[in-house]
């Protein structure tokens, strides 16, 4: 009887994750779509001006999308080489003792709360970058990219490491038997064999960087401008939602617009996760 009861309960827990996911999606749709009644969806996504509390308000999220993309790309430029390097070193080159010391540290890096990263970026990194590059302010897309890169690094490193170490040993032995040295084996055999897992790692790293909120809120500077310059402040979507949700009157256009940003962000991250799943399966 008891076992039966618990066994029946377990699928409910599993189903709950679906309930949550669809609940979130539903709320985002219900609360987000009303904005498209007053602002056409095209103007919302490609509008270049974000003045939500001005009279009359302007809801164009292109600068916010660009802000998110910029810090994410910046973060990837840092996280991919370091993360992959780390993964290859740990699974192919490092001996067991080193691996057992280093791997937990990488995982600990993933456990540092984002507000701590933000604080670190604000009081230490931003003034440093301001001084080194002679900027008038250190809160820039570059600063945010560096910190986000460090934050995405453990995700990329640990998933890529899993992928690389699950490459069958026989492949490596065959490569050595053919006379390839270790470097050739890594670049020509192991990494290509682990390609799909590495892609999944990178895509999850993107998801980590694009969804990060607290850190970018604190250090990206938050100017809603479209700029190709990494040494200028930018404003990612997540920071906008976090900064403005508290004071937006419930049911106002601003409120719905913030939910619509959430919806855009949600669709992006869901898309990324689906792509990552695809690669992982291979």
């Amino acid at each position: 009887m008891k076992k039966n009861f618990i066994e029946r309960l377990l699928p409910i827990f599993a189903l709950l994750t679906w309930v949550f996911l669809f609940g979130i999606m539903l709320i985002l749709f219900i609360e987000g779509t009303p904005i498209f009644k007053s602002v056409p969806i095209f103007r919302f996504i490609f509008g270049r001006h974000w003045y939500p509390v001005h009279e009359p308000p302007e809801f164009g999220i292109l600068p916010l999308i660009c802000g998110s993309l910029m810090v994410t790309v910046g973060a990837l430029i840092i996280a991919i080489p370091f993360g992959l390097g780390c993964a290859i070193y740990l699974s192919e080159i490092a001996n067991r003792a080193v691996r057992e010391v280093v791997k937990p540290f990488i995982e600990m890096l993933a456990g540092v709360p984002s507000v701590v990263y933000g604080f670190f970026g604000m009081v230490l990194l931003a003034p440093m970058i301001q001084k080194i590059f002679h900027l008038s302010i250190g809160l820039t897309a570059f600063t945010a990219s560096v910190i986000l890169g460090v934050m995405a690094l453990p995700t990329v490193a640990s998933i890529a490491e899993d992928a690389i170490s699950s490459v069958p040993k026989a492949l490596r032995e065959a490569s050595f038997a053919l006379g390839a040295n270790q470097w050739e084996t890594i670049t020509r055999v192991v990494v290509p064999a682990a390609k799909s897992g590495i892609f999944a790692a990178i895509i999850l790293g993107i998801g980590r960087a694009i969804g990060e909120t607290m850190t970018v809120l604190m250090i990206a500077g938050c100017c809603a401008v479209i700029t190709p310059n990494f040494f200028k402040p930018v404003r990612p979507m997540t920071a906008t939602i976090a900064a403005e949700m508290g004071e937006a009157p419930m049911g106002s256009m601003h409120y719905h617009a913030l939910f619509a940003i959430g919806l855009v962000l949600f669709l992006i991250t869901i898309g990324l996760s689906l792509i990552a799943e695809r690669f992982k399966e291979r």
Binding site: M1, H49, Y51, P52, V53, H54, E55, P63, M122, V123, A126, P127, Q130, S136, I137, G138, L139, L217, M218, G221, C222, C223, A224, V225, K232, P233, R235, A239, A242, A243, E244, M245, G246, E247, A248, P249, M250, G251, S252, H254
Partner: protein, 275 residues
């Protein structure tokens, strides 16, 4: 039989939950306060003092923002909503439709000081110059008597009550320039200005420190006295909203904040007492 037992258990749990929640709502010595993060330190410190004086009373204070507070008042999940701005007409309409009559009590004033780096040679600005700086019409310090450096304008995020007041009193409803930084807290603005010699920002008077220089605006230095007397122009009242005139415990608590002792706390946490 077993099924019946299960059903009985469920009913028992359900009745516990309902009894407990309605109990919590009915308990006369519990007060829930939600709202503006600006008012939060005042509400928190005064609540602590108040509970010390009245040990049986339990006050829970939450932040979230003025909009969140008023929404909670409408939903009936708080008895006092803190707000750093007067209630909006749209919110009043929602209140009316739910049969709620929001009444605001001014409990303190918040002066907004304009801050620059201590090394900045500019000491004074007019409201017009300030507006032009934030609108992007003045972009170099030399245009207001300083060095030939570009001005880095730092603003609060558009949803903060501080921004709303700044927009109303300084920008007169105008826009900030697009490349103004929009930071999420008074502390963040102060920290940014401390680190950037060419920056200008604005914070609540309570956040002034010796690391930054506050500017004289229209010939008036921002101090408690000039805010209360109304000479200093960039200041706003802070409110506590209740459903109808405050009564019972809510009235006792608001009266306590308005008392001499309460107003001392207001000053201690960095705001301007109204008396």
């Amino acid at each position: 039989m077993l099924r019946l037992k299960k059903l009985g258990l469920l009913i028992l749990i359900a009745s516990f939950v309902t009894v407990y929640s309605s109990e919590a709502r009915k308990r006369p010595n519990t007060l829930t306060i939600t709202g503006s993060t600006t008012v939060l330190p005042i509400a928190q410190r005064t609540a602590e003092e108040f509970m010390e004086l009245h040990p049986k009373v339990n006050i829970s204070v939450r932040g979230g923002g003025s909009g969140v507070g008023i929404a909670a008042l409408i939903d009936g999940t708080c008895s006092i909503a803190d707000a750093s701005r007067p209630i909006k007409t749209k919110e009043i309409a929602t209140c009316r439709s739910k049969g709620i009559n929001p009444v605001g009590t001014v409990i303190a004033k918040d002066g907004i000081a304009i801050i620059v780096h201590p090394s900045n040679s500019v000491k004074e600005l007019s409201l017009e110059q300030l507006k032009a700086i934030y609108a992007g019409e003045i972009s170099k310090w030399s245009e207001v008597g300083g060095k030939t450096k570009p001005i880095v304008a730092i603003s609060r995020d558009v949803a903060s009550g501080t921004f709303e007041v700044f927009k109303k009193l300084v920008l007169k409803g105008g826009k900030t320039k697009e490349d103004a930084l929009m930071l999420a807290s008074n502390k963040a603005v102060a920290t940014a200005v401390v680190g950037a010699p060419d920056a200008i920002g604005y914070v609540g008077i309570g956040y002034l420190s010796s690391d930054v220089k506050s500017l004289v605006i229209e010939g008036v230095t921002p101090t408690n006295e000039t805010v209360v007397s109304g000479e200093y122009k960039i200041a706003r009242p802070l409110y506590m909203y209740t459903n109808g005139e405050p009564k019972g415990l809510a009235k006792e608590f608001i009266d306590f904040i308005l008392s001499e002792e309460g107003q001392k706390i207001v000053e201690k946490v960095g705001f301007v007492p109204i008396k």
